[in-house]
Symmetry: C2
Subunit: 421 residues, 2 copies
């Protein structure tokens, strides 16, 4: 781990709300986002979250423009310097307090926007328990395919429909074929689901034709966000052979607005331990001792639902990104292993992260066994899949003894009824 | 068909080279591209091809900037007006000849660049003969899956690695498992292939959550380009289950530099005739009488290869986009049917177009039956798949009795050896 003064758990900020014990954005976090004043016609600009406030990056002379792509492209060393500068400026007794206080905007007064213009979006399938659970439903005799432990399986997703937390989700129309029906129908999806994922946003890219070696992969990652890969299971089942999921996913993907930097995540690295002792050793381009030792990240991912009748959200699951079979470095190395080029602001998602316990399953597909076992909610409602008016809220945080707890905030969205045809 | 004065086959241009009988860019074509002076450090800008010349669009007061995205977003009516203006200005006896002649740049003196910044790229699978041929290799008992005649099958491709004609193709490294091998290898692809496709570039987009009705689909298309979907068959076979092709495709996709507008293609519309009489009727959101009557386009697509030892390229196939099972309007309507949003400059590709004849197969996979029957080339060489030094050239043109023949130019690329590991 590359720890420095910014990770010291004893640090406190002159922004008082950042020192509350359950605050997602203490001074040890310092995630970047894009914001503007709520209801104002002003240009969006970059900021950093501190407590319940946003520090306008312009206060430090950093003019991001309306996306963080250019900031991401400055690279890890420059970002680490900026982080240290921010940490010092926001610490208790900072001489800059008075000057910077004028550049704080309350989160309640701010609108948070998509933090980067996403060039390409890839969605991986690193959650081995999820892959096994889904495989068991589709192919009971052969849940995990022969390539799974060799290839970090992934597919390209739709970038245009990636939206920021809070944007409503219109229930998609689509083709599906009911069991034993002679023909498909085009109708509102009846099996609307979520998927608990983490997304990684790239910083510096690579030239087309030049793979990124696994040992250099982290230098190309800017940070992480929560990601809910909304999924229409009935559309997916009918369309996905032979070329993979398409319209079952492309109607919406929600991400959280704050990019938690790789530097902020440094204390929460852990061994990549989902790989069993008798699993095949990764091929050399995916194999790296450092990565196996600390390529994982202990990040808790929770999914909550709040139906139209509920006052408080209910937690449906808590998983942990430690349960990922492939590391972030491995998916970067794999994605570029054929020469494919990354650009600043690309998004690589983990795929659904589920654990082995019944309370750690990251999709309704798994929680209800494809809708067979309805889920009971507080207040007496039940769900097989999502209904109109349901709000799904993904939350994430990093907890480690001896370090501050840092949060990701939320990736939330409420289901709107399908359009009339 | 919406024909107007610009389609009159008798029109001639004062740019003499445009009047040659085999010219791809007569005055009836007028495709748009992005260019700059060869070897110059000047900013790229928009131009229109006429004969062997490029007319700088700035001559008509159109400042595109370095991509055509903004021009594409102006919409079909504005583009039709610009086309008429260009046609009049470039016609024999135009009063503007003298003024415009100063804004001509010879194609030999120009570097052609990617014409649009591509937001999202989807690749469809509309070539039913191709789908059947490939299916027969993979699943001899069940070549065409049950969803094929209902769903315009497609998947998301990689936008960052789309390159313009002439850019060399680095043979990709990747994971593949040889038949009966206990483990896969990471090595240069040994089954490198091409795919003859057509790509459609979108103009005006749609709002997220609002499908484009099939009757309005054409209003959202800017124009068409040739597209070679380079494919590594060994990587593809090992990785594609369960989420579809990924690294087998994302190392490179070549497009031609000139966007032939939908208005230029108007005379070559034809019935969407690949659908057999006893095939299921498309679901209502994909069904439209006008589209069935003239939703197809008679566009010839040829693939040529020139090995390092050959002086002249040899033609390997000639297919026709008429053999597409799904129309352009149907793939637009399908892509947006779940609310997915298109943005100006998105790319939707046809998938490989093959006909029924042995000389109309749009990939080596089909021509050599997955490498089993080596292909004989003039000069005595043979090929199962592409070798280093081979150049693949896709050409396209529209031919119709009573109208001018218009061309697409080329989408070409030469294979470079894989990087040393």
């Amino acid at each position: 781990m590359k720890l420095d003064e910014t990770h010291d758990p004893a640090l406190r900020s002159w922004v008082e709300s950042a020192n509350a014990p359950d605050c997602a954005f203490p001074i040890q976090n310092l995630p970047f986002g894009i914001f503007r004043g709520k209801g104002r016609k002003e240009l969006p600009r970059g900021g950093v979250a501190i407590g319940d406030q946003i520090l306008d990056l312009a206060a430090l002379g950093v003019r991001t423009g309306p996306t963080l792509n250019a900031l991401a492209a400055t690279g890890r060393p420059a970002l680490r310097r900026l982080r240290r500068e921010l940490s010092r400026a926001l610490r208790e007794k900072s001489a800059q307090r008075k000057r910077l206080a004028r550049h704080l905007v309350s989160m309640r007064q701010a609108e948070l926007l998509l933090p980067v213009a996403i060039g390409d979006y890839s969605d991986f399938y690193t959650g081995i328990h999820h892959a096994t659970n889904i495989g068991r439903i589709l192919r009971p005799d052969n849940p995990l395919l022969a390539n799974y432990k060799w290839v970090p399986i992934g597919y390209h997703g739709r970038a245009s429909s990636i939206i920021v937390s809070g944007t409503p989700i219109r229930r998609p129309l689509g083709q599906a074929r009911l069991p034993d029906a002679p023909a498909p129908l085009y109708a509102p999806s009846m099996r609307l689901d979520y998927e608990a994922e983490l997304g990684f946003i790239t910083g510096t890219g690579n030239r087309l034709g030049r793979p990124i070696p696994i040992g250099e992969a982290f230098a190309h990652v800017f940070g992480a966000v929560l990601l809910n890969d909304w999924s229409a299971r009935d559309i997916q089942a009918w369309e996905y052979q032979p070329l993979g999921p398409f319209l079952a996913k492309s109607f919406a993907t929600t991400i959280s607005p704050w990019i938690v930097t790789m530097d902020a995540l440094e204390p929460y690295r852990c061994s990549a331990f989902a790989r069993a002792a008798d699993d095949p050793r990764p091929l050399p381009y995916l194999d790296n001792d450092d990565d196996q030792r600390e390529g994982g990240f202990a990040i808790e991912l929770e999914m909550h639902v709040r139906t139209a009748r509920m006052k408080q959200p209910a937690r449906l699951s808590r998983g942990n990104f430690r349960d990922s079979y492939w590391t972030v470095a491995q998916i970067i190395a794999h994605q570029t292993s054929n020469g494919c080029n990354l650009q600043p602001g690309d998004l690589l998602a983990s795929g659904t992260i589920s654990g082995t316990g019944a309370d750690s399953l990251g999709s309704l597909m798994e929680l209800t066994l494809a809708g067979k076992n309805r889920l009971s909610l507080p207040g007496g409602e039940t769900r097989a899949f999502l209904e109109d008016g349901d709000e799904v809220i993904e939350r994430g945080r990093c907890v480690r003894e001896g370090f501050a707890t840092i949060g990701f905030g939320e990736a939330a969205g409420r289901i709107l009824p399908a359009l009339a045809q």
